[in-house]
């Protein structure tokens, strides 16, 4: 009788269902039609991507600070780097730019704190972001207090202005949207119909006409002696416009909460605001975080529209640079860079929204 003391070594699987070849066979070349499609797509992709990479990276000019640095066939990114400070700060006076730096740093910190689920004290940080931070940012950016020099808003611009408009839009439209959503579900007919009319009006018109209205009609609505800042006018328009969209998102969340929740709260003797604030809204808002973030993305993209009423946001600053007589003919570089900047912000927000969606889906 023989006894084996060693195991027979495991054999490799007999076919090509594993590894790189197997992956290719399963995903690109399963069947004749798919193989043809794959090959054609690859060829087209290579034909498209190679010239793009050649233009944007390989043949591009990166170093220098003047027009003379642009020599090659490819893109001239010197156009961007030469005016990078303007793109970030706009016409904000040079010695005062540390104020913008502080506000931007605070904003980054707050957003990061609120976005990372593991960090504690969300409620207090959130309250500070909604109430404290706007005051600090206002005092720092405008100046006029504590010996800070006044910087009028017409000197604001670039990324800083884009972020200001986006932040004010977000911070302003969320609470107004919540109130509108609650009003739309109110039992009181007057309150309900007012909210419906308000929401449907803003959702029915393009943002451009809202900005036109804010810039030409709003000054007519207030007494002559009130001087209305151009930026403030745009901000009011943007806030109202997006609060209507926010209201519809929040309403979706409110409708998803079973009425038993509110009835139970009623049975406990809680009043309307406590029922909403403690029971219904926390559940509803959590449910629609992805929708809220998507509205933020849309809002962020649409901040570029302030260009049309003559504010110098990120896009407008780059566009203004294109008309500089020393730098004619760099439209492609300018717009590609603008697109990239906006894309980075929007793409990270959309990724974050997907991440939150996955996190919220753990229950079932």
């Amino acid at each position: 009788m023989t006894t084996r003391t060693e195991m027979i070594e495991a054999r490799r699987p007999p076919d090509m269902r594993r590894g790189a070849v197997g992956w290719l066979r399963a995903n690109l070349f399963n069947g004749p039609l798919n193989s043809v499609v794959s090959v054609i797509t690859m060829v087209l992709l290579a034909m498209m991507l190679w010239p793009m990479a050649k233009w944007a990276l390989i043949d591009a000019d990166w170093l220098g600070s003047t027009r003379e640095a642009c020599t090659g066939e490819g893109a001239c990114w010197v156009f961007i780097s030469a005016r990078f400070e303007t793109i970030i700060y706009g016409f904000y006076p040079d010695p005062e730019r540390w104020r913008v730096d502080i506000v931007l740093a605070m904003l980054t910190l707050l957003v990061a704190w609120l976005a990372i689920p593991r960090l504690p004290a969300k409620r207090w940080v959130g309250a500070f972001a909604l109430v404290g931070f706007p005051i600090v940012a206002y005092v720092l950016l405008i100046g006029g207090h504590f010996g800070l020099e006044v910087v009028p808003t017409r000197e604001w611009g670039g990324l800083m202005l884009t972020l200001t408009v986006a932040t004010v839009g977000i911070v302003g439209s969320l609470p107004i949207g919540v109130v509108l959503a609650l009003g739309r579900r109110s039992q009181m007919p007057l309150v309900r119909s007012l909210c419906v009319v308000f929401i449907e009006f803003w959702r029915g018109v393009p943002l451009i006409t809202v900005l036109f209205m804010a810039s030409v009609m709003l000054p007519l609505f207030v007494p002559t002696e009130v001087e209305f800042d151009k930026l403030l006018r745009a901000l009011i328009g943007i806030m109202f416009f997006w609060s209507a969209y926010m209201a519809e998102v929040v309403r979706g969340g409110l409708q998803a909460i079973p009425s038993g929740q509110e009835e139970a709260a009623k049975a406990l003797g809680l009043g309307y605001w406590r029922r909403m604030g403690l029971i219904v809204l926390p559940q509803a808002l959590k449910l629609v975080i992805p929708g809220i973030v998507n509205t933020f993305i849309a809002l962020f993209k649409d901040t570029s529209l302030v260009l049309i009423i003559g504010l110098f946001d990120l896009l407008a600053i780059i566009r203004a640079g294109l008309t500089d007589s020393n730098w004619l003919g760099f439209a492609t570089e300018g717009y590609v860079f603008a697109a990239l900047m906006f894309w980075v912000f929007c793409f990270s927000m959309s990724r974050y929204s997907q991440y939150i969606e996955r996190r919220l889906h753990t229950g079932h």
Binding site: N27, L28, N30, N34, V37, S38, T41, M42, L45, Q187, M188, P189, L190, V191, L194, E200, F201, R203, G204, V205, P206, L207, I208, T209, F212, M213, V216, M217, P219, L220, F221, V222, P223, T224, I297, K301, D302, S304, L305, L307, I308, L315, R319, L322, A331, T332, G334, Y335, V336, A338, A339, F342, W343, C346, F347, S350
Partner: protein
């Protein structure tokens, strides 16, 4: 034990009905006060600036020209005419954008579900790139970076020596109907009526007898065959005017202005990225059991797709698709950034600057978009009510 109901109800301010009444009364008063304040401010402001209100300006001579007009228009036309020209231009670019965005969007959306990894990833990349770049940036990119970089008319790029692309736009052959062409148009109309009748008849026949007619093939045959037959019988009464270089520019043909091309490209590509996502989620929303059940009763693959999957996916797709169409129409107002003469550019732009009638013009412009939105949403609600999942 009996208690009087008044003592049970407690003080008056605790009564929800009374409270609701008071709140609404206060709200109404505040609202009326607010409106009164705005109206009085506006009136005194207008008086101070010497602007007369009213819609009389609509009859005045506009005095500026518009590069693209679908109806007769000159500098002598009235502001009312300007409004119509702008509105038609808005509707033109919206319609073109809707068609193109739907085609691209459905193609990309279906490609995202492809079993081919490369196709799926490519479609995903398309969606992620284009929906995360602001539309305005895309419009400016197409207009200034691509179309303004095209060669002059003399060095036009051409296709079959009939289509020309240059910095002044896209020049295409223009159809020139000869007498007798109207017969073809009538035949087309007749064919449409016939196809509608055929569809209704086929549906009734199927409910009554269970027999299915090849509606799609028959319909296509009628729709193409009848007008073509009439066209050939009447001796092909249509000529194409081929554009040709004359001096510094093209003569003949139709010139599509670059502003329209840029706006159309940007609107279609941007909106298509959203439509693709809608199509994908719509198809994915049909449970797998539906296809499996269809297979179990041995329905052929194309019938399963046509009668089981698509109708159910459409219920999810159509409402969102409509809201994208509305968005596209509203977004076409960004035309003003590159000077395409749409409603906002010529009416809320040039006409407003010339007349100073800010309130009237902005109100009219907003009302146009509002009416379009409300009408489309009303139609959508009807559709939703009809296709609502009927639970028994």
């Amino acid at each position: 034990m009996q208690r009087s109901s008044t003592s049970e109800r407690g003080p008056l301010w605790r009564d929800p009905a009374v409270r609701a009444l008071v709140i609404q009364a206060v709200l109404l008063l505040a609202l009326l006060g607010f409106i009164a304040m705005i109206v009085s401010n506006t009136l005194s402001n207008l008086e101070a600036r010497g602007i007369t209100t009213g819609f009389g300006f609509l009859q005045e001579r506009a005095g500026f020209s518009i590069p693209q007009t679908l109806i007769e228009y000159s500098g002598d036309s009235s502001y009312a005419r300007t409004f119509v020209v702008g509105l038609l231009n808005t509707l033109l670019v919206s319609a073109m954008g809707i068609v193109a965005a739907t085609i691209i969007g459905f193609a990309v959306g279906i490609a995202r579900l492809s079993s081919n990894w490369l196709m799926a990833k490519l479609a995903a990349a398309y969606v992620e790139i284009f929906r995360n770049i602001p539309l305005l940036v895309q419009i400016l990119f197409w207009y200034f970076a691509v179309l303004q970089a095209l060669p002059s008319p003399r060095q036009s790029m051409s296709l079959f020596e009939a289509f020309f692309l240059n910095v002044r736009g896209l020049v295409v052959p223009a159809p020139e109907p000869l007498p007798g062409f109207s017969a073809t148009l009538w035949a087309l109309l007749l064919a449409v009526v016939a196809v509608v009748a055929l569809t209704i008849y086929a549906r009734r026949l199927q409910t009554r007898t269970g027999k299915a007619l090849p509606v799609f093939r028959l319909g296509a045959l009628i729709l193409i065959g009848l007008p073509l037959l009439v066209f050939l019988l009447t001796g092909q009464p249509l000529e194409w005017e081929i554009p040709a270089m004359a001096g510094f520019n093209f003569q003949g043909g139709v010139t599509v202005i670059p502003e329209l091309v840029a706006l159309w490209l940007a609107l279609s590509i941007y909106t298509a990225s959203f439509i693709a996502e809608i199509v994908r989620s719509g198809i994915q929303s049909v449970p797998k059991g539906q296809t499996e059940a269809a297979k179990a009763i041995s329905l052929p693959g194309d019938v399963t797709l046509r009668k089981i999957v698509i109708p159910q996916a459409m219920r999810v797709i159509v409402p969102q698709l409509t809201s994208q169409y509305l968005n596209l129409t509203k977004n076409s107002s960004l035309a003003t950034a590159i000077g395409y003469p749409d409603l906002v550019a010529v009416f809320a732009g040039t006409a407003l600057n010339q007349t100073g009638q800010a309130i009237e013009i902005v109100a009219i412009t907003m009302a146009v978009y509002l009416v379009i939105s409300l009408v489309v949403s009303a139609l959508m609600n009807l559709y939703n009510a009809r296709t609502l999942l009927k639970e028994r």
